[in-house]
Amino acid sequence: MRHSRAAYPLTWRVMDVLERLAAAVWPSSFQRGLPYLMLLPAVVLVGLLVLGLIQIGDSSLRTLDTSTFMMSENYTLANYQRALSEKFFATVAGRSLVGAVIVTVVTLIFAFPYAYLMVRTPSSALRKFLLVALFLPFFIGQVVRAYGWLIILGNQGMVNEALGLVGVPPMRLLYNYPAVLFGLVQYMLPFAVLMLAPALTAIPAELESAASSLGAGWVRTFRHVVLPLARPGLVGAGLVVVTLSLTDFAIPAILGGGSQDFIANAIYDQFFRTSDQGLGATLSLLLVAVGSILVGVVFMLFGAGTLAMGDERK
């Protein structure tokens, strides 16, 4: 008797207890509900965002009483009217939209050759180097990267000091629109390359060899074979870059120096400078709507791409 008990190790007994506990909490007749139970924590966590959106919606319908600095009790659409009619917001929105489009075009022009070389190169060392060069800035964070640009482009920065050595007077390279766009391009490059790379991997290299063996030069092969086949990747990457740069906060704040605000900066100012929570919430909600529509279009057209979770079965 004692011998057989010794043969039954402690861990097994612990497991038996746990197993019985699990069966008591979640009997096997509930089996079909199990995946929903497993999904529940994630659904609750993301629910915080939904709650947040509801809160934003609620605030957006209340106006600020400037005499008491209290939010009004009853709902009105006044904030939406102000957001859509005031010229300042139109300027900021226009600046963000034009900026986002320019950034996207430039980013794609640089990201495409990068992704192409990374996918096609036979050297695995080069591929790894390109990947590391991509992930390092991605993992460093926006603030540190923008800080690096301040050191390079500032009035006493490296570029101006170097120009000074050859007698060129210092130039104002920061706190203007091009500086913000430049910062955004370099911020978006990793995103664009990582969205493009899987699309390029899917194009068989033999297609290009076939085109060139039929006498097409590389420019023609590129235009008529590679580019059309890479279009889903290009559109996907483009829309992601448009949304991310349209809604960015840190780069316009740091490299724009307050004079080149994008929509996110205007929202921040409404909350923390003017303390007009209602108007800030209205602007947030409008931005969320535009951003979600853009991303929604991407997912509808191309699926979630590399970010698809679970099997794609329709």
């Binding site: 096997s28 497993m38 959106l53 050759p113 790894k128 006493q156 929202i267």
Partner: protein, 266 residues
Amino acid sequence: MTGSRSKSIVIWAFVITALVMLSAPTVVVLGASFTAGNIITFPPEGLSLKWYGAIAQASDLRQAFVRSLIVATICTLIAIPVGTLAGIALSKYRVRFARTIQIYLLLPFTIPLIGSGIGMMLVFGEMGALGKLWPVGIATCVINLPFMIWAVTASASNLSPDLELAAANCGAPPLQRFLYITLPAVLPGIITGSLLMFILALNEFLVSLLLVDARSVTLPVQIYNSIRSIITPDLAAISVVFIACAGVAIALLDRLVGLDIFLKSK
């Protein structure tokens, strides 16, 4: 072969420009942190480690860094069970409304960051929790959760359901099947996901900015606030901490799963 040569020249021209753009800030911050001067100049005024000494003395920077570490830890500790369970459920089971649930779980990516941040600021403000660190941890977890779920589902799809059936056939009850078969199979995904979550939470700026107050600033917010006033090399030295963390994360990621997985077409 002239065509092929001109092609490589064009491609390399773009790639080298992109590489310079990507790496210049990192290289410059690294270089600036070793300067011996009091302001950042070019060419540098000689080498010294004095700014590293300075940040070791500066208690506000040190505390901000510790706060960032706490936030990243909270974020990762929440993301591991939540993301793992959701990932396994999505890839292993046939779930009704799977597509709707997927779209719902991708909300953190579809809602612009400023919207998510403001929303959570209002929610946590209502709860009276602003200024504490745990809301920041939860918020960074929410906005990056799809990364975790994605990493787990990617490795769970490699697991053959036959293995679990075989274990059941040998008499393993459900919990043992989960602990000894399913969990080890998705472990690489859990590791990738938690690395991503940790490093992204460590760097998270905008959502932190919205959720912290003067007493609870995290390191990215602290750097941002200091940038506004004056540029001194101690900021470069503290930024090197981020570069080092990023380097370690990339090395681990490459070691454990290989960076090449990001090139795969699905």
